[in-house]
């Protein structure tokens, strides 16, 4: 098994559209980023505040301008961060790399939503006598739909557009497990590089909860109510990391594990948008397994710095990102990678960094990053 180094990270979020801006925010003490919502022009919104990517202009960040029309904002964020993680001189770098089939990519994506609300007009025109009329929908409604709705809604679009841009043809996968998804992607990418299937792999994820549909769902769950036990600040963004074979002393992936938290028997599906209450059991199991793997590598210091995803119980010494950064859905798992990078290279923290995240139904992923032994 080969050592796996993390050699670069890209990030987009309410702090800005680059890793440098993330690090500036980090160094400034991680100040609050909530602002009045600007990207949604609707007369009614359940909350006035969100953490949006400021001044987002995809044409500035994405070289394939025709493809932008096929990308929802969350895909734009994901592809942008993946390209950043790959490196600034994309074309030059490709020429120096092994063949395309040795370049892989693994992503964590959010739940697909009709971000642009394209169905609304089509459905409205299909109401006849207070009933949804399928025939009228087909006859009149489809003219109002974006014909590429289905294509734009594919959850593997971050993977697809990045792969096309960078000519990645190797191992790949796309997980939908909320904030745990990008960590599942990290685990798969690390395995792929460690087993010598891939020479380089991108891993991470991006998402946006600042959409009409997301806000609606959250409001239904009472998350904007003043007395809500679990409040939520919708956010957007994500991050990707570049993984390559590493050597002793480099920053990299030490261990990874995932587990599923079962629903309590007295909780009838569907679960809410958030990890079930019994997520601690899965978190404990995955953490124990990660440290077991670390011990096999000779890592004895269990005093790791911990960073956990939104709504997970705080660990001892846990660093809180989400109060000021908001909750970017699946993007949170990606931003854990950026935070680990900041700890290591900005804060010069040389201890193992334990990152953990949970998905909406109890998927739990834990990764241990640090100095490769």
């Amino acid at each position: 098994m080969r050592r796996v180094a993390i050699t670069n990270v890209g990030a987009v979020g309410p702090f800005g559209a680059s890793l440098d801006e993330f690090l500036d925010w980090w160094k400034a003490g991680r100040p609050a980023l909530a602002r009045a919502i600007e990207s949604i022009d609707e007369p009614w919104l359940p909350t006035e505040l969100a953490c949006e990517v400021p001044f987002w202009k995809p044409r500035v960040h994405l070289p394939d301008r025709k493809a932008i029309k096929l990308m929802t904002p969350r895909v734009q964020f994901g592809v942008t961060t993946a390209l950043q993680a790959w490196g600034s001189g994309v074309d030059d770098t490709i020429a120096m790399l092994p063949s395309a089939d040795r370049r892989g990519m693994f992503t964590g994506a959010g739940v697909p939503v009709d971000e642009e609300w394209t169905f609304r007009d089509a459905v409205e025109t299909s109401i006849v006598d207070e009933t949804f009329d399928v025939v009228r929908f087909a006859e009149k409604g489809q003219d109002l739909l974006n014909p590429l709705w289905l294509v734009k809604s594919l959850t593997n679009n971050i993977l697809a557009f990045t792969a096309k841009q960078l000519d990645l043809q190797g191992d790949n996968d796309n997980f939908e497990a909320g904030a745990a998804g990008p960590l599942l992607a990290l685990g798969s990418a690390a395995r792929s590089v460690a087993c010598d299937r891939m020479e380089v792999a991108l891993a991470g994820g991006a998402d946006s909860l600042v959409t009409v549909e997301d806000l609606l769902v959250m409001d239904r769950h009472g998350l904007f109510a003043p007395d809500a036990p679990r409040t939520l600040l919708p956010s957007q963004g994500g991050a990707f990391a570049r993984l390559e074979p590493g050597s002793r002393g480099q920053f990299g992936v030490l261990a990874f594990a995932s587990r599923m938290a079962p629903l309590a028997k007295d909780v009838a599906p569907p679960a809410t948008h958030f990890p079930p209450d019994n997520v601690e059991e899965a978190l404990d199991l995955a953490t124990v397994e990660v440290w077991h793997q670390a011990k096999m590598l000779g890592i004895k210091d269990s005093q790791a710095t911990q960073i956990r995803g939104p709504r997970l119980p705080d660990g001892p010494g846990d660093i809180d990102l989400w109060t000021t950064l908001g909750d970017p859905g699946a993007g949170a798992g990606g931003l854990l990678l950026a935070a680990a990078w900041a700890l290591r290279f900005t804060d010069k923290d040389t201890r193992p960094i334990e990152i953990a995240a949970a998905g909406p139904s109890g998927e739990v992923a834990v990764a241990l990053l640090g100095t490769l032994p």
Binding site: W44, D101, V123, V135, A138, T155, L159, D173
Partner: protein
Amino acid sequence: MDRREVWITGVGIVCAHGDDVATVAEAQREGRSGAVALADSFDTTHFDVLAACRVPDADPAIADLKADFGLRAARAAISDAFGEDAIDCRPDLVGVHLASGLVSTPVTEAEDELLASMDAEGRYQHAAAAARLADPSPWRARHFTDRVNRTLTTDYGIRGPSLVNHGACAASAVAIGLGARWIERGTSDVVLAGGYESMIHPFGVLSFGMLGALSERQDCSPAEVSRPFDATRDGFVIGEGGAVLVLEDARRARARGARCWGRVLGMGTSMDAYRVTAPAPDGHGAVAAMRQALSKAGLGPDEIDYINAHGTGTPLNDATETAAVKQVFGGKGEAPPMSSSKSALGHSVAAAGAVEAVLCLLAMRDGVIPPTLNLTHPDPDCDLDCVPLEAREAELTHVVSNSFGFGGVNCSLALGATP
């Protein structure tokens, strides 16, 4: 560490032929189509689509039909593998790796949702929708695509890893391949792997139709619409269903006297995002996936007895896939027989890879290559032995199953017969 051998010790399938393995095998042998009129599901005026491959007892009123298929297939597979409705394995050594697609929204549900959210002028109002806080099951939460994983882990006390894969039409093949890797490297002893999908509803049909992916043929019976590799093909027929395999460490399976349906020998995956909805014309992504699967399985091209093609029936896919198969296996006379199960069962999108893996296991068990139905005018660009019209008896030891998806995701599985 040596790679552990992966046996398939249980199968569950829900498709247009039904949910009973024996019935599905019989339909495959007899070359029956599962297609029916789409108009049996809803009023198709202005839809320009004639056929669909509907699960016979599918109830469109079920809120999440695809999850229903997934759960039925998984429970059948568990029962098949363990002889009871329980998994005989340490909970933390059981994993779940399933695949799913987009939201499947029945009209009844959309209607309820939308009508309840309209104002007096018939405009959708977010506030009205949000006011329905008393609704215990908002539709989106109901459609979380990991719902099947969640239910299985809860009902069967599973404590191992659990993943939902989203790789479009290749998704469930990828789930099987990666599930097998968990067994190979010792992460799990038992893995439930497969996928489920239902898009036979107005929104799904319209979405694929607007992309030009569905056949618009009207001049024949529903059973004659799907025509993979035929010169007259013009698109696929939408299908639905689910399939789940119980993958198990072979040593453990032998020790408990489990039945072996077959073996997962290798998986190849690649990306070739030429366009989001189209493969590269030279098929290099498909070539890479097939070669990788053979390499992982330790097999040469001449050791493959049958290829279950992705074979959607779209003009582009079938020609590209044929070209890719030729690059790996040689031309006519060299390449093994290849057929498309989508000619009988339609394209069940995210479920297709798992459904077709089960069909491959049945083909190996029964020594019967399923036919490509409606292949009466072979396309000169699809000139391999595509097993037209009738099933063929043959001894099958090693097979390859291809699955290719939007976004350029390609997956090939190499499967082996019972040792």
